[in-house]
């Protein structure tokens, strides 16, 4: 029994945390919120210099060829630091290519994504209330892409998009260079003011199909795991802020962390966080070993991590009282990010349904 991250991943986590504590954090999130630029360009250059976008890219395509453990700890640390860089968006697109890319597509795009010359994004939402499993309106016909994806988080930064398109078997994927003619982009006002969103229009833009409908399902499972780690990181940072405040703030002659109403809520944050971490680790294992439980483990990681992040972001703000509700305070970053993480890949309810579908199948197989 060795249900733990690899030593290499733990070393990487430590290095990433140190780096991002020095370079990112709420201050840099605020700077991007207040700026025109869609992400922190200087920080992104440093992140690229660390080689992180190349983590999962095979060595043959100019990457480090690292495993899922390493990808997951990077996601956790980016989530923790709120680093306003399109690292996870780029990693999402890399996973899409790894799952479904032809040799030519991989050779064309992976080296550029690994080197930070291209910024990727996976775009499925179309501004309506559909889940990632429902058929999009966007179409790819004879190499021409038409439709609208919005809100696309990090979509203002991206240079390459993997978009969902309608197919006979359900949503499938296309890959499109966002510098192509027929692509239009504009900022979209959305809840997260740090990770900015775009509306991306495609009007007969040249694009290529990327795998089939089954690949899209597989991709969403992998991304569910990756972003569960992001959520763990963000929830962890919020909880540390709440803890520090509960140990410092006084009311009625006591530090507020002495009151059970406060300390039990912090215990609940810890409980939800630990449950989410256990499922996220299971998901990381299932992804890394391509285990048959991936559908189940990924959905559970997603559901548990969204629950932990929502609860922690809401209760962290609550424990801060009035100051937590102000523009100047950092609570809003976590509170807004909780909805961004949910919107990025489908809600808790969607994934709970997928989890139960996987469990039904497992129960039937066992019977």
């Amino acid at each position: 029994m060795d249900f733990d991250l690899s030593d290499d991943a733990k070393t990487l986590r430590e290095a990433a945390r140190k780096f991002l504590e020095a370079e990112a954090g709420p201050k840099s999130a605020r700077a991007v919120m207040d700026a025109e630029a869609p992400h922190d360009v200087a920080l992104w250059a440093k992140v690229v210099a660390q080689g992180w976008p190349s983590a999962r890219v095979p060595e043959a395509h100019g990457g480090l060829g690292l495993g899922t453990d390493e990808a997951c700890v990077l996601a956790e640390e980016v989530g923790r630091s709120l680093a306003p860089v399109p690292l996870l968006a780029t990693m999402d697109a890399i996973e899409a290519l790894l799952i479904a890319g032809s040799e030519a597509q991989k050779a064309r795009w992976l080296p550029r994504l690994a080197a930070g010359e291209a910024i990727g994004v996976v775009a499925w939402g179309e501004g309506d209330s559909k889940s990632p499993a429902q058929m999009p309106a966007t179409r790819l016909e004879s190499g021409r892409l038409s439709g609208v994806k919005t809100p696309v988080q990090d979509g203002l930064s991206a240079t390459l998009a993997v978009v969902t398109v309608a197919s006979a078997d359900g949503p499938a994927m296309a890959i499109v260079d966002l510098a192509s003619e027929g692509v239009t982009r504009s900022p979209v006002e959305a809840l997260d003011l740090v990770r900015k969103s775009a509306r991306i229009g495609f009007d007969s833009a040249p694009a290529e199909p990327l795998g089939d409908a089954a690949d899209w399902v597989r991709l969403t499972e992998r991304l569910a795991v990756l972003h569960a780690w992001e959520a763990l990181g963000t929830a962890g940072a919020a909880m540390e802020m709440a803890l520090a405040y509960a140990k410092d703030r006084q009311a009625f002659g006591l530090r507020i962390g002495r009151y059970q109403a406060v300390k039990h809520r912090l215990a609940d944050m810890y409980i939800k966080g630990e449950l989410a971490r256990a499922h996220a680790m299971h998901g990381c294992w299932a992804w890394g070993t391509d285990a048959s439980e991936l559908a189940q483990a990924a959905a559970a990681a997603r559901v548990a991590s969204l629950e932990a992040l929502s609860f922690t972001a809401e209760e962290t703000l609550q424990l801060h009282g009035g100051i937590g509700f102000t523009w100047e305070h950092d609570c809003q970053f976590f509170y807004r990010r909780a909805r961004a993480v949910s919107a990025a890949l489908g809600s808790r309810a969607h994934w709970a349904d997928r989890l139960v579908r996987a469990l039904e199948q497992r129960n039937r197989a066992a019977a």
């Binding site: 029994m1 060795d2 249900f3 733990d4 991250l5 690899s6 453990d69 803890l243 509960a246 140990k247 006591l254 530090r255 962390g257 002495r258 059970q260 300390k263 039990h264 912090l266 215990a267 609940d268 810890y270 409980i271 630990e274 449950l275 989410a276 971490r277 256990a278 499922h279 680790m281 299971h282 990381c284 294992w285 890394g288 070993t289 559970a300 559901v303 548990a304 629950e307 309810a349 709970a352 349904d353 989890l355 139960v356 469990l359 039904e360 129960n363």
Partner: protein, 405 residues
């Protein structure tokens, strides 16, 4: 990451499995009708004896006291394999899980020689005499009095929630020997003979109808000073040894308790106007929540096992187990019974719904026993997260002068 045993662990598991197949053949399915108490005790004793003779008793205990001197991983592997069967084990979980480790940690060589082997072989059954009517979560406020009378102590008072006291031969008893000392410093621990004159055991009937617990009354019960565990006034320190073992013993979902699988099956069997209840969104959300909690605890325990397996101490994450499991059982059972409407309220004997009724009743007790939900949240907040403790009277106040705040 790897969920497989090391070769050494796999070998031990195979050995255990082969032994269980040869020796627990009659326990591979649940009993056709529940055993009565006498039969349960008789079967428990016979099973413990078998384990003792085969070298599967006291797996982690030192060899010097009759144990096997193996690692916690060995204990866990044996427990995992044993819990796939329906062998009766509950009679000894307190005695061997908590009482006897306290005896061999704090007892004299004479006490260890007298009591440990017979407990381990199952011949003598033990109970833990800690809680009192006025001292549950706040154990250190117990009032059962022990007064020195030459070579013996005279005990008067009342204990409660004592599992299997009515079937026990001995117990470990925490008493107050100095009422004018501060709360935690006036306590002393003893071994007590449950058959001694002045010990009266009265079963408590629980809400579920079963009687697993007792009240125990002590009236001028004489306990030899040589049966004292630890120094006079050191009872709290000794009790902490017991409670530490309790935290290890009280953890995951009880063996064979209903989980998400049963909820799926129950929902599948219920027809709504359009489809089975399994298609209802609220039911699917409940199944998901149950799975997240139960499976999350299991996976969290695997993290702790991985640490043990490497020879390291597990982190604090396992402290969440009972607080999650008990409430999840309660919520799940209530939801399933409600979902079944009348059939859940008046369930057929032997049906899944009847099991869920039992789970509904039992889970209420589980949220209290072995540390209430509230105490466990305090422990997480204070020991894991480093938050300050509750407001309490000053620690050095003499016990008999404590005024409630």
């Amino acid at each position: 990451m790897d969920f497989n045993d090391t070769p050494e662990q796999a070998a031990y598991r195979a050995q255990v499995r082969a032994w269980l197949e040869a020796n627990a053949a009659e326990y591979l399915a649940p009993p056709e009708k529940p055993w009565g108490l006498d039969e349960f005790v008789a079967r428990s004793k016979a099973w413990q004896r078998k384990k003792y003779e085969a070298g599967y008793a006291g797996i982690t205990w030192p060899k010097a006291v009759g144990g096997q001197g193996l690692t916690p991983m060995h204990q866990i592997i044996f427990g995992q394999e044993e819990s796939r069967t329906y062998v009766p084990t509950g009679l000894y979980s307190i005695g061997l899980g908590m009482c006897i480790p306290t005896v061999f940690t704090h007892g004299t060589p004479e006490l260890i020689a007298r009591f440990v082997p017979k407990a381990l072989s199952g011949e003598e059954v033990w109970c833990q005499l800690f809680s009192e009517p006025v001292a549950g979560s706040d154990l250190a406020s117990i009032r059962t009095r022990a007064e020195c009378d030459g070579e013996a102590w005279v005990v008067n008072g009342q204990k409660v929630w004592t599992s299997f006291a009515h079937r026990s031969d001995f117990g470990i008893l925490v008493t107050r020997t100095d009422f004018s000392a501060p709360k935690h410093r006036g306590l002393t621990m003893f071994i007590v003979d449950m058959k001694a004159p002045g010990v009266e055991v009265r079963p408590i009937r629980q809400m579920s109808g079963a009687s697993d617990f007792n009240e125990v009354f002590f009236t001028d019960v004489r306990v030899p000073d040589s049966w004292r565990l630890g120094a006079v006034g050191d009872g709290w320190k000794v009790a902490l040894t017991t409670l530490m073992h309790e935290r290890l013993a009280v953890g995951g979902k009880p063996r064979h308790a209903p989980g998400w699988q049963m909820l799926i099956e129950v929902a599948r069997g219920i027809e709504t106007d359009s489809a089975s209840a399994l298609e209802r969104a609220d039911v699917r959300q409940r199944i998901a929540s149950t799975y997240i909690a139960d499976e999350g605890v299991k996976l969290t325990q695997m993290r702790a096992l991985s640490a043990l397996s490497r020879g390291a101490m597990p982190g604090p994450e396992q402290s969440i187990a009972k607080v999650v499991v008990a409430k999840t059982m309660q919520d799940m059972a209530a939801a399933a019974l409600d979902l079944a409407e009348s059939a859940g309220f008046a369930a057929e004997k032997g049906s899944d719904l009847e099991k869920l009724q039992q789970s509904y009743l039992w889970s209420a007790g589980l949220r209290i026993a072995g540390g209430t939900d509230e105490i466990l949240r305090n422990i997480i907040a204070e020991r894991v997260l480093g938050l300050p403790g509750d407001l309490r009277p000053p620690k050095d106040t003499p016990f008999n002068e404590i005024e409630p705040l």
